[in-house]
């Protein structure tokens, strides 16, 4: 599509009722007489030079979503309005760009630079903005009240095509003809949707939009006069933003659990970098450091392209914090728990929360099911008492538990005394071992309350053995010689 310029007529087509029909067309094609829903042969006869492309609704939707995310730079409350619109709540945002006129101009310039033509309208209600941007003249971009909307067709009310037809039959063609009519008879005849839409247009009935991305509770931003090409420069700005942000939070006695840094590239690409902290944070250094590590990683596969023009830092999940405890002698104690939490945050953000784990005991005697590694941030209900747990696990035996375990038991070939003696020789991973000491067996069986497939596993007889080199292994025999044809031997763990 690279050779398509604005003066080449082209349209998007799709198979529809009665053949291939036009879904959308360029300005040049429209001027040549091509219309929406026209059959392709008709369109071609009107405009022989027409170029056609397959309509791709999924691609459109994805593109719209991308663009909606980009639009967050203007306001945190932004929603996609498929198939072709974006809605923004700009309350309190316009002054940041020097007023509403400047904002419209800015949006239009940037969209045009991306290759989009846009109809933009700022109005008091969602309904009014929707109506004017789609049906109004493009010159009126900022409208006040509903007077300008009165001459628009009723279709601008976001109502069903059927309702529009019914209204047309009785001569009600514009919004102006029905806007001041009593609501009850209208609702009785045309449904409540019509009156709701009318009230939403005038602002009598509230309407809100559902933002595409959760708006941050606090947001600071920095736009660059010259687009920034190096991520190092971003790091410097990030420090400033973090300081501004944390000062703001601190002034209000708040801390946040999540921060999101967004990089807006010249070409509309938006990259979000998110960090989470385990405890409420308003420490600029900590945030900068966490973000900096993620930025370093990003730099490996991120191209700044023509440069980054804007960065924003948002804070989420803010809560009131207690001020940092300073010990009685006035010094912040070094090696504090706070440092430790900061360390864990850095680990979690770089390695992923599932890779920073702690052990908890689980109610099972089967070794691989008796422990669990859970993310360190996960809350556990019962305080654990490992010595008691171990005692319970081992019962009256003294055979101990190995320090190292194989992820899953590995089959070995073993020669053992029948019926329940320890092996005397075995081969594991193609190496032969001769046993000179042995203890056991310790019989472990799955608990009866386990799911059927686990509970029916054969019992295991564990042996602790030592080979001629002093290696100490934990082996088991699965099944019993009396009951089964061929019990199998497995290697499972290693003692120190």
């Amino acid at each position: 599509m690279a050779d398509i310029t604005p003066d080449v007529p082209f349209s998007l087509i799709t198979s529809a009722q009665g053949g291939i029909r036009v879904v959308a067309m360029s300005q040049a094609a429209r001027e040549a007489g091509v219309q929406k829903n026209q059959l392709l042969p008709n369109a071609k006869s009107l405009c022989p030079a027409l170029r056609v492309f397959e309509y791709d609704p999924a691609g459109d939707e994805a593109e719209l979503k991308e663009l909606t995310l980009w639009a967050i730079r203007y306001s945190p409350w932004v929603a996609a309005n498929p198939p072709d619109g974006i809605m923004m709540d700009i309350s309190g945002c316009a002054h940041l760009l020097g007023g509403e006129e400047n904002m419209v101009r800015d949006i239009r310039t940037r969209l045009n630079a991306f290759g989009f033509s846009a109809a933009i309208c700022i109005a008091d209600t969602i309904g009014a903005a929707w109506a004017d941007s789609r049906f109004g003249s493009n010159s009126a971009e900022i409208i006040d009240g509903t007077d300008a909307l009165k001459r628009l067709p009723t279709a601008a009310l976001r109502i069903e095509a059927d309702t529009v037809e019914q209204l047309k039959k009785v001569g009600l063609k514009t919004i102006g003809t029905i806007i001041n009519k009593p609501r009850a008879p209208l609702a009785a005849r045309y449904g409540k949707t019509l009156t709701d839409r009318l009230d939403q247009l005038t602002g009598k009935k509230p309407e809100s939009l559902n933002p595409i991305k959760e708006p941050p509770e606090y947001l600071v931003q920095e736009s660059f006069v010259e687009p920034v090409l190096l991520l190092d420069q971003i790091t410097i700005s990030l420090e400033n933003l973090a300081v501004t942000m944390t000062k703001k939070l601190e002034d209000e006695g708040l801390g946040a659990r999540r921060f999101c840094l967004s990089l807006y590239r010249m070409d509309g690409d938006v990259r979000n970098i998110e960090v989470r902290t385990s405890c409420l944070s308003h420490n600029a250094d900590h945030i900068t450091r966490l973000m900096g590590e993620k930025l370093d990683r990003l730099s490996e596969n991120y191209d700044t392209g023509f440069g980054i023009e804007l960065i924003t830092l948002g804070a989420y999940f803010t809560e009131v914090t207690n001020h940092a405890q300073i010990s009685l002698d006035g010094k912040k104690d070094s090696g504090s728990l706070r440092d430790f939490q900061a360390l864990i945050d850095r680990y979690v953000n770089r390695l992923g929360f599932e890779n920073v784990g702690k052990f908890i005991p689980r109610e099972s005697h089967i070794p691989e099911r008796s422990e669990e590694l859970i993310p360190i941030s996960a809350e556990e209900k019962n305080p654990k008492d490992w010595p008691t747990f171990l005692k319970d696990l081992q019962g009256g035996t003294h055979l101990g538990r190995p320090i190292l375990l194989l992820p899953r038991p590995e089959p070995i070939t073993a020669i053992a005394e029948v019926p329940d003696g320890p092996p005397v020789r075995f081969e594991w991973r193609r190496l032969k071992y001769r046993i000179i000491r042995a203890e056991g067996p310790e019989r472990l069986a799955p608990e009866w309350w386990q799911p059927a497939d686990i509970a029916r596993e054969p019992t295991r007889d564990y042996f602790r053995v030592e080979d001629t080199d002093g290696g100490r292994f934990w082996l088991f025999r699965r099944g019993l010689y009396e009951q089964e044809e061929n019990p199998k031997w497995f290697m499972h763990g290693f003692f120190a």
Binding site: G357, I403, W448
Partner: protein, 261 residues
């Protein structure tokens, strides 16, 4: 050079070596064994040292892991913070068994286990941990060493010195090259200590005995010892003392099988 001048020079050198540790003279961890502590100089057992443990051969990994854990247990004893254990992500790799740690004398609750993708991440995680004085210690389990060299070990050493958190590095048996480690142990499994004989097919196992070769030790000569680990007192024992068998729990005379479920 006269012998007195030489002595003076030696004193000077040792003073320089010790100076960085002088302010932390109280933070010295011991091995729990007087005999072993007498052999090891304060430079290596002070808080904030970098200690390396190597298995003698591939099969001796579990013995080396045991020795590392034993050192880790000593570190945990000396402070209240947790111990960070970093290892590479590998589905086939042996992993720590928490009940086994408890049986070894370590509270699994005080272990934070990191699983990292690469050696680079492992060294990063260790460096970060060494900045946090709250921790009791840091353990890194290296696989094939590509990045761990003199520079990398120097970075770890310096951080360990300034924070007073000791680092333990469990290396592969093929490890070579110079590092700044304060002490390097080569560990192999020895035949376990003698247990009272009983009339059975095979004799029982005794406490673990490791053949320990001190192949590097700053401020002392190397040596070779047989040591054991006492999980009750959390201390190392020189095998000669262990031979008495006093520290081992009495065993029940008869094997009692347990039937569960």
């Amino acid at each position: 050079m006269s012998s007195t001048a030489f002595e003076q020079l030696k004193a000077q050198v040792s003073a320089i070596e010790q100076s960085s540790l002088a302010e932390k003279d109280d933070a010295v961890f011991s091995t729990g064994s007087d005999a072993l502590d007498r052999i090891l100089p304060a430079t290596v057992t002070s808080a904030g040292a970098l200690l390396e443990v190597l298995p003698e051969s591939y099969q001796q990994r579990s013995a080396a892991t045991g020795a590392t854990l034993a050192l880790g247990a000593r570190l945990l004893e000396a402070k209240t913070g947790p111990l960070v254990w970093c290892q590479l992500r590998d589905p086939e790799r042996l992993h720590l068994h928490a009940p086994g740690l408890a049986a070894f004398g370590i509270d699994p609750e005080r272990i934070i286990r990191l699983t990292v993708k690469s050696e680079q991440d492992l060294l990063w995680a260790m460096e970060e941990a060494l900045d946090c004085a709250y921790l009791s210690g840091v353990v890194g389990v290296l696989g094939q060493e590509k990045l761990y060299d003199f520079t990398a070990s120097r970075r770890l050493s310096l951080r360990a010195r300034s924070s007073g958190v000791s680092a333990l590095m469990l290396r592969s048996h093929r490890a070579n090259g110079t590092t700044t480690a304060d002490m390097r142990w080569m560990v192999g499994a020895g035949e376990s200590s003698k247990m009272p004989e009983r009339k059975a097919f095979l004799p029982r196992l005794g406490g673990a005995i490791w053949q320990l070769d001190l192949i590097k030790c700053r401020g002392a000569n190397g040596g070779s010892f047989q040591i054991g680990w006492n999980r009750e007192t959390l201390s190392f024992d020189l095998a000669s003392r262990l031979a008495g068998g006093t520290s081992l729990p009495e065993l029940p005379a008869r094997e009692d099988k347990r039937y569960i479920g």
